[in-house]
């Protein structure tokens, strides 16, 4: 039996057991479905939406404030635009923004955390003092200040939020790297004469990936929440691009009689964040079965 053949049973068996645990928890599956639905909407949004012209600002004042009906599933807003269309289009903005924030924060924070954790000594102190200071600053107000200064726009908003988001990753990665650095197999590698980069990338980081991935999926939800929050305060994306937060903020003025213009964007945010939270929770059990009893 050649060596390659024997490879498959062990690795496959390993994944099979983890998938069994993932499938076992209904919540994680629900989370996965929500996230997949979101992805589909974000990608194919403009084609499958009933009133594509509304996305680019088209209005239909005759049909103002229609309650939810078979034609307009979520009713229409003050400009007669179909709320369902706007919410669907909003998914793309939120997902892109959320993904952008998490990626920038994970890369920047991860780098700083890994460097501080691995190098130790004064580098660790300096970087960590800076990270702690950034953490004490109120993240939302900081993001608002940066976004307002740079002017509205998706990329400015993503930059603004990620500036206050990276310290979370920095602290996580630093803690994990410090813990892993003392593991025996890392010392063994050092005793073998392995170079620092080899130790960091071949031994330390692969064993640190799972908590980072879990945090990234959880943070995706919270990043979407932060983007919507900025939109809600009016510092978000330039109209007419639809964004859940700004939709909700506009709709506030028309409560309680035209409640649907507010409820549906709000629910959209809620389900998006819930989806990523459930997925993150499921991944945590997948990677670290001890975590959940």
């Amino acid at each position: 039996m050649s060596p390659q053949q024997s490879a498959h049973p062990s690795r496959w068996q390993n994944w099979q057991r983890s998938l069994y645990r993932f499938r076992q928890s209904g919540l994680s599956i629900a989370g996965l479905c929500i996230v997949l639905v979101l992805l589909v909407i974000a990608v194919a949004g403009t084609w499958i939406v009933p009133f594509p012209d509304h996305i680019t600002g088209g209005i239909n004042t005759a049909a103002r404030f229609k309650p939810p009906s078979s034609l307009n599933w979520f009713g229409t807003n003050e400009l007669g635009q179909d709320v369902f269309t706007l919410v669907m289009a909003g998914a793309r903005v939120s997902l892109i923004a959320g993904f952008g924030v998490v990626m920038i924060a994970a890369l920047l924070g991860g780098l700083i955390g890994a460097l501080a954790g691995y190098a130790g000594g004064w580098i660790d102190d300096v970087l960590m003092r800076l990270t702690d200071l950034m953490l004490t600053l109120p993240s939302l107000i900081l993001a608002m200040a940066i976004a307002a200064a740079l002017g509205a726009g998706l990329d400015n908003m993503v930059f603004a939020i990620s500036m206050s988001w990276w310290p979370g990753f920095a602290r996580l990665v630093r803690g994990e790297v410090i813990a892993k650095k003392e593991d025996l197999f890392v010392q063994a590698a050092r005793a073998l004469g392995a170079s620092n980069s080899r130790i960091l990338f071949r031994h330390v980081l692969p064993n640190v990936m799972s908590p980072i991935i879990i945090k990234m999926s959880l943070d995706m939800g919270f990043a979407i929440l932060a983007v919507a929050a900025l939109g809600f305060i009016g510092i978000g994306v330039k109209p007419p691009t639809p964004e859940w937060g700004s939709l909700l903020s506009l709709a506030r003025g028309y409560l309680p009689d035209y409640w649907w213009t507010a409820i549906f964007p709000g629910l959209a945010i809620f389900f998006a964040v819930l989806g990523f939270n459930l997925l993150g929770d499921g991944l945590r059990d997948l990677f670290d079965p001890k975590a959940r009893r």
Partner: protein, 266 residues
């Protein structure tokens, strides 16, 4: 093979706590193809000694001459080359293997690290790994398995195979069998004895179990709080110890001898 002269290591006290003397003027020599035991309880300094020998820590005083060259004062380049000649096997079989690497990667890694000297092709490396697996009593079927699929004894065998990969002259064995069950320990001890003869290795064997040290080693050294209490051939150290600490320690070892039961001696 290895000459240690007046080795001391003092850790500076931090924030008001007093300095700690981990090693105090330790000297011994290990002849080629011989096994030298270091015995001591926790806090006796045996781990510090290991870390100094493999260059993870710098000693405060003293020399460690390996084939005439002092390990502590080697240039990084020479140090890397030295690392291929002295290898270490750790105590905890579960923590000393990277959980995300297969047995092939683990054993093959030293061949990769010292590729500049060994110049082995990928095919040659795999053959070398399979040969090492068989030499430690495992086989080609274990090549692609991950650490969590091995028993404690099997993992320790992989640790030994990894240490042998770059054909070292000396192995430092840091309590290799104390985490294992009795029957598995016996298998590993026999493997080590056989490897020493066939590969002409010299061992620095660290343990708190006098029975194991006596079985494997020719000479032994007893450490207490970093100081050398006894040193000499195994029989002389264990049968006619000079210091009363050694006598008390040897008496305290629970030997599998019914005659020494508390019920009889009390």
């Amino acid at each position: 093979m290895l000459q240690v002269k007046g080795l001391s290591k003092i850790y500076p006290g931090r924030r008001g706590s007093p300095a700690v003397t981990a090693l105090d003027d330790v000297s011994f020599t290990i002849a080629p193809n011989s096994a030298f035991g270091v015995v001591g309880e926790s806090g006796s300094g045996k781990t510090t000694l290991t870390r100094c020998l493999i260059g993870l820590e710098k000693p405060t005083r003293g020399e460690m001459l390996f084939e005439g060259r002092d390990i502590a004062r080697l240039s990084p380049q020479d140090m890397r080359e030295m690392r291929a000649r002295i290898q270490i096997v750790f105590q905890d079989p579960y923590a000393s293997l990277n959980p995300r690497m297969s047995a092939q990667d683990i054993i093959g890694e030293p061949l990769l690290i010292h590729h500049d000297r060994l110049q082995l092709t990928a095919r040659a490396r795999t053959d070398r790994v399979v040969e090492l697996l068989e030499r430690v009593g495992l086989g080609v079927r274990h090549l692609h398995r991950y650490p969590h699929e091995f028993s404690g004894g099997q993992r320790q065998r992989i640790g030994i195979a990894r240490a042998l990969a770059v054909k070292p002259q000396m192995l430092i064995l840091d309590e290799p069998t104390s985490a294992l069950d009795v029957s598995v320990q016996a298998q590993i001890l026999n493997l080590l004895v056989e490897l020493q003869d066939s590969l002409k290795l010299s061992y620095l064997f660290i343990s708190h179990d006098l029975g194991v040290v006596r079985y494997i080693c020719d000479r032994a050294l007893l450490l207490l709080h970093g100081k050398m209490i006894e040193e000499g051939p195994v029989d002389q150290v264990f049968d006619h110890p000079q210091s009363d600490y050694a006598r008390r320690l040897i008496a305290a070892i629970p030997d599998v001898d019914p005659a020494r039961s508390l019920h009889l001696t009390a």
